[in-house]
Every structure is written in structure tokens, then in C-alpha cells.
């Protein structure tokens, strides 16, 4: 069984974009989620991310993240309602509790918990879309020249999650194959087994990465023997642009910049600029106590609309099928297509 958060190669704009562009785009949503408390803005960021995830083909990741995020949000709402005794609208008095003292559940504490939970859910969806759409190998390649060891560690961490998911699936299969008379295996023993074997598996993954040369310093490009400085400089520039001539960034690994990069960089930058401007203009108007007040001013609505629109950034027009034209050009467009099954 494959984890819904595991990266799946696709030909979508978000998958084709460079890691930097994808991080700029999805990171802008995460920054908004961390910086804003207004439920309107957070909801817009969440919906924008869901749209982005679905357009990028990461529907399963989005659904899984929403499930986890909303569960976490419910937990936060419950805890906040129990530990925060503020707000005007007392819904229930739960008496004296050990350690917690007098418990009064207020509508404002529930709303405040919901806002915090919504923020957590939005951040989780952003990271789910990132995990499902951004190739970790490309992230590693981008980071390796900057911090090789950190990149190796990051890769190890990012690879361990799908490895653990695969291990879990194998263990579950093995448990099922014991036959119908065997006692069912609960989640706790499975998790214990995975945890116990995680160190061995981490060493395996690290060794594999080591063999693939992830821990080596990037190979410096060698100028051609006869190249002069003036001939070499433009060549180096080109080499830098495509990621160097190192082991993983050499000619075989050259990946051209995606035509979608600019779009994601631009959307990310616009979102960040709008978030900063929105803060200054009061778009984050939200107070939980003593009574809930949600600002619905023009700045809030404009930023929310922008976040929703930003969700459509991974949209790609369906390519027009290129077909042969057996009929003369003089025929009308409606009958120019070949009949079904006629090719």
C-alpha cells in the first residue's frame, strides 16, 4: 500500500516546476496560515490549497491531510474549551475538575480553538500537497550544493516515511496470509514492530543513499583543456543554470527549468506581498475574547479572494490533440475530426 503523501510523478505543472517554485507557491499559503488568525482568511487559504492539490492530482493526499487535520482541529477545540475559561457566552458549567479547576465551556473558547485547529489543518494540507507533488530527489539536488549533509539528512527523513508505509503494508499482508484462523493484528503491535525496526531501516536507507553518492561533495565541473577564460565563462553560466556537471547534476541529469516556474514564483510572491499588505491594512481582524468578532472588511475579503484564485495556479489546459487531417482544408471544423474508431 502506498502512502497518500508519497511523491507520485505526474506531468502536472506543480510536479514539473522546480522545487524552489513549488516551495515558494505552497510556502506562501503556509506563511499566510501561520501569520493570520482570521478564520475567513484561513478558510480561504485552506480552500485554495484544496483546489491546488486537486488540480495537481494530489486529491488523495489532500483528503488524507484533511482527515488528519480536522481530527487534530477537533482535539484542539476540545482541549481549548476545557483549559480556557474566557469569553462571555458560557455554554456549560462542568464543575471543579482535578488539576484544571473550575471548567466553564464558552462559545468563544470553542471558536478560538476552531481557529487554531483550522490553521493546523491548512498547514497540514500545504505540506501534504508539497509531499505528494514535489520530487524529493530534485529537492535534494537543489540543496546539495548548499548543505550536503543536511540534504542527506533531509532525504533520509523524507524517504523513511514511504519506507515505513511500505513496511507496514508488507507486515499487514503477512498477517493476513497467516490464514483466517489467525488472531487479527492490531495497530499497536504493528506500530511497535515498525518502531523497533525503524533504526535498521534507517541504516538501510542511509546506506543506499550513500551508495548512490548522496553524501559526496558535488563534483566541480572541469573546463575543457583548450578552453580560454572567455570561452569558459558562458559555459560555466550555463552549467550553473542546469545544476552543474556533478554526479547527479551532470548532463544526464540536466533538467530544464519548467515553463511553469515563473507562474508559481509570481503567485507565491503576490500572495506574500498581499499577506504583508493585508496585515498592515487590518485584514487579520479577529478577536476571540471576550466576544468573537470576525472582521469582514475589504482587505480581508480581497486577500481571501486572492487566496482562492491562487489555488488555480496549478491549472493546465488540456493539450489539443494533434490529429492528421485526411480531409481537405476547405471542410468545416465540425466535420474535420476523424470519426470515432476511424483512425
Amino acid at each position: 500500500m502506498r502512502s497518500p503523501f508519497a511523491y507520485t510523478p505526474r506531468r502536472g505543472p506543480l510536479q514539473s516546476a522546480s522545487p524552489g517554485a513549488a516551495v515558494a507557491y505552497l510556502g506562501a499559503f503556509a506563511v499566510v496560515a501561520f501569520a493570520y488568525s482570521s478564520p475567513v482568511v484561513l478558510l480561504a487559504a485552506g480552500v485554495g490549497l484544496v483546489i491546488a492539490g486537486r488540480l495537481a492530482g494530489a486529491g488523495a493526499a489532500v483528503r488524507a491531510a484533511l482527515r488528519m487535520g480536522l481530527t487534530l482541529a477537533l482535539l484542539i477545540v476540545a482541549v481549548n474549551a476545557l483549559v480556557v475559561d474566557r469569553g462571555e457566552t458560557v455554554l456549560a458549567r462542568l464543575g471543579e475538575w482535578p488539576l484544571l479547576g473550575q471548567i466553564n465551556v464558552t462559545a468563544e473558547a470553542l471558536a478560538a480553538g476552531a481557529a487554531i485547529g483550522l490553521r493546523a489543518a491548512v498547514v497540514m494540507v500545504a505540506f501534504a500537497v508539497y509531499s505528494a507533488c514535489v520530487d524529493p530527489d530534485r529537492v535534494l539536488r537543489a540543496l546539495r550544493p548548499l548543505a550536503g549533509r543536511s540534504a542527506l539528512t533531509a532525504t533520509l527523513v523524507s524517504r523513511l516515511v514511504p519506507v515505513a508505509a511500505a513496511d507496514a503494508a508488507r507486515l499487514r499482508d503477512a498477517a493476513r496470509l497467516r490464514g483466517p484462523g489467525a488472531a487479527p493484528v492490531g495497530r499497536a503491535p504493528l506500530a511497535r514492530r515498525l518502531l523497533a525496526g525503524s533504526l535498521d531501516r534507517a541504516v538501510d536507507v542511509a546506506a543506499t543513499l550513500e551508495l548512490r553518492g548522496y553524501s559526496l561533495a558535488p563534483r566541480r565541473p572541469h573546463p575543457p583543456a583548450a578552453a580560454t577564460f572567455f570561452r569558459w565563462k558562458p559555459m560555466k553560466k550555463r552549467c550553473d543554470r542546469v545544476g552543474g556537471w556533478g554526479r547527479s547534476g551532470g548532463r544526464a541529469g540536466v533538467r530544464r527549468r519548467s515553463r511553469y516556474d515563473r507562474r508559481f514564483y509570481a503567485v507565491g510572491a503576490i500572495l506574500l506581498a498581499a499577506a504583508i499588505a493585508g496585515k498592515a491594512l487590518g485584514a487579520d481582524a479577529f478577536s476571540e475574547y471576550p466576544t468573537v468578532a470576525v472582521g469582514l472588511g475589504p482587505a480581508t475579503l480581497a486577500l481571501s479572494a486572492l487566496l482562492l484564485l491562487a489555488g488555480f495556479a496549478p491549472f493546465r489546459r488540456s493539450p489539443v490533440p494533434r490529429v492528421a487531417h485526411p480531409t481537405p482544408r476547405s471542410q468545416t471544423a465540425s466535420n474535420s475530426l476523424p470519426a470515432r474508431g476511424g483512425i
Binding site: 475559561d85 456549560a92 458549567r93 466553564n104
Partner: protein, 305 residues
Amino acid sequence: MRGLGAAVAILLACMATVAAAGCGLGPGKGLEDVRLTVTRDYGSVPLLSHDVGDVTESDTVMRVLERNADVSTRYGGGFVQAIDGLEAQERFGSSRDWFFYVDGVESTVGAADYPLRGGESVWWDYRDWGAAISVPAVVGSWPQPFAGGYDGRRRPVTVECRGGGAACATVRARLRDAGATVAADAGTSAIRVLVGPWGRLREDPAAAQVEGGPRRSGVFAEFRPTTHGYELDGLGEDGEVARSFGLGAGLVAAVRRGEAPPVWLVSGTDAAGVGAAAELLDETSLHARYAVAVEAGGEEALPIR
């Protein structure tokens, strides 16, 4: 069916337990009015003072304050950072913060954790706490804590006359008029009122805290020994002597040792001073004041500004 019956029985038992524990839906039943006072600089500048009527059994000091003023908080909402824009600050050696007293007694818990039971006198004061970080008891909530007790419990009052003479009778009369239950000997739970010249009162360990200065007692006054007895000095906010009173000066102040009930001091340099101090026991003279000194009929709020 048996399982369903057991579940219903357990549910009913839980509901009965919850109801018995004072739980329920909504804010609960209404309580007696609460008096809310907001001042700054040791009560010298009144900012807000009125009776709050819509108090319910789920209300806390914080909830009542938030309902009546614009409040910003810190540390998860438990502590007040600003009331009506007047913000706590710590700079240039001056530390100012919001403190609150319920029925004249400094709270040991945050405002959000202090439940109200109705009839309390809540006083918020914004002050410099450089000279005294803690002022455990104040006189500014008169007739509390005598009329209704403190900490949710009505308490008896004992008047200990230590050479106070006629002033003791005055004090007893004022307390009875305020609604206090004055008892001859009510044990350790009673609020004590010591009446007498300082030379006699200083023998009491609670009263003797005044000689340790405001940092120890929270009282911005000190009795200075002289050849003919004691003279009263009024201290400023910085804890330094700001004014020396002459003969016939009196003092009304409150002190507290640990968790023991507060002890009120009705004292003076001599019998005349004690008598003048006893006359101060009314709302007009004591409202929103930490302590009061009197000399020749003229009252002076302490600390002296």
C-alpha cells in the same frame, strides 16, 4: 436489552452527579451585584467605578472586567496586560502593572481563575511596584472584607483593643454599622482589627511587619521612635519618606501574614491619633486607598504622591 438498561442507568447516574456538582448548561443563576473599581497610581486616579449587575455563577474576575472595559491579556489570557489602553510596562527602572484586590485582599491566583460568588468588591489598580511588589491587604474596599468576608467565606471580626480607649468603641460601632459580625474571640479564622497607639500595636507580629517597610508589609508608612514615643512618616511610591506627621497623627492600614486573615491597624502616635484614625472608618475616607494617614483632621492617602 440488559446492556441498554445498564447504559441508561450509568448515564442517569452521571447526570445526577454532574447536577449535584453544580454543573449545568448556560451561565448559571444570577448573583448579587459586584462592585468594580479601576484606578491607577495607588488609587489616586479613578478610571472606572460602578456596580455590575449581570453577574452569574460562572463569572470570574476577568470575565466581569472584560465585560466592562477594553482588556488585553498575556500568558494565555490569565493576566491583564492593559485596561482601556493603559498598558503594563517595565522600563527606565519603573515597573508598572495591573494588580487586583477582591474584598481588600490581594489575589494569589490569576483573574481568570478567580470565581465570583456575588457581593464582592473588585478593585483593579495600575501602579509602580518598584517599592512593594506585593501589598497583601488594603483598606480601600471598605466595608469589605468585614461585611461579606473574603475568598467566598464570611468571617467573624474581632476588635483587639490595645490601649485604644474610646477609639475601640468607635471602631466597634463603625464595624457593626458596616454589617460586620463583631465577636469577642473568634479564633484564627477571624479578621482582626487592632486598635491602639503604635507603641502597643507593634508587639503584635502581624503589625510589626510595618517596621520592615513597604517591601515587607505593603504599608507606605513607618513609625519613627523618638524620645517621647513615636512619630509617623508617610512614604512615597519609591518607599522614601515623603512627609512627616506631627503629634496626634493616626493611621489606618491593613497587613497580612501569609495565608492568615488580614489584620487591620487603627493606630496613631498617641491616643488622639488613634481616635482620629478610628474616625476614618467609613467609605468616604477609605475608598480606593491602600492606607490612610490623618493629622489634625486632614486625611492623606498613602503612599504620598
